[in-house]
């Protein structure tokens, strides 16, 4: 296996990219994708630690995070579709994380 630091740094890169995307994009769907990137980074960190600690609870955590992420996305996309019925784009400027 590659050294633990490799996994952690890759996770940090993915997490930072996710944060960047959440802060800079104005399209709700892309923000969702970036949140998924953040969660993937978290999962990767957990998996790295789990493998190097010889401990399974990290893997259980990752499994449950994935299930919750799917639930969150389902609700989020339903809301986006509902908003789209009101107005014809999802590029609402209010979806601008730092402006509010």
């Amino acid at each position: 296996m590659a050294p633990l630091a490799n996994y952690l740094v890759l996770a940090a890169i993915l997490f930072a990219l996710g944060v960047w995307g959440v802060l800079r994009n104005r399209n709700a769907l892309i923000i969702f994708m970036c949140i998924e990137l953040m969660l993937n980074a978290v999962n990767l960190t957990f998996m790295g630690f789990s493998a190097y600690l010889n401990d399974y609870s990290g893997q259980v955590f990752v499994f449950l995070i994935m299930a919750v992420a799917a639930a969150e996305v389902a609700v989020g996309l339903a809301i986006i579709v509902s908003i789209f019925r009101h107005k014809e784009n999802v590029n609402v400027d209010e979806i601008n994380v730092m402006k509010w």
Binding site: M1, A2, L4, N6, Y7, V9, L10, A12, L14, F15, A16, L17, G18, W20, G21, L23, R24, N25, R26, N27, L29, I30, C34, E36, L37, N40, N43, L44, M47, G48, F49, A51, Y52, L53, N54, Y56, S57, Q59, V60, F63, L64, M66, A69, A70, A71, E72, V73, A74, V75, L77, A78, I79, I80, V81, N89, N91, D93, N96, M98, K99
Partner: protein, 167 residues
């Protein structure tokens, strides 16, 4: 050999993640997201976590991105125009992210993690299943309630109501 595969997957994951964030066309972003998820699944295999790799592919690629692509197709005129995807705060956002990234790498690199570096034993799926059914049975059950809530919520909010209703 293992290390080489890791680096290929890592570059693939990070590179496509950059594309997800910066692409003009949202559909392309979604496709690059699939690539990121696949690379991360590959890294799970390198960590000897085949079960989680399979779950990653099933949930992230099979469910989440497909849902997103559905939402894109429902809400966007595909390929017709490339919209301005960036909000007004690109520069402060990039600055904050950069500082955050440097801090996180410093924090991760400077810490001596109390890890052993051994291999997880065989029978990994069995162990995870045992944990889910014993120690972690309550979160496991609560997750099923989370899924129920999401199901109810997605139906209620996403459903088209009869026209003429004012409520």
């Amino acid at each position: 050999m293992n290390l080489l595969v890791f680096y290929i997957l890592a570059i693939l994951a990070a590179g496509s993640a950059i594309m997800v964030v910066t692409m003009k066309n949202i559909f392309h972003s979604a496709l690059f997201l699939v690539l990121t998820f696949f690379s991360v699944a590959g890294i799970y295999v390198l960590l000897n976590a085949e079960f989680l790799a399979a779950v990653q592919v099933l949930i992230y690629v099979g469910a989440i991105t497909i849902l997103m692509i559905f939402a894109i197709m429902l809400t966007h005129q595909l390929f017709s125009r490339s919209l301005r995807q960036v909000n007004e705060q690109v520069i402060p956002a990039s600055l904050i992210t950069f500082i955050f990234f440097v801090l996180s790498v410093v924090a991760l690199a400077k810490t001596a993690w109390p890890v052993s570096g051994g291999q997880l034993p065989e029978d990994r799926i069995f162990e995870i299943g045992k944990l889910l059914m014993s120690e972690y049975v309550i979160p496991f059950e609560v997750v099923s309630v989370v899924l129920l809530v999401a199901l109810v919520g997605a139906i209620i909010i996403g459903r088209r109501e009869k026209s003429g209703d004012t409520k």
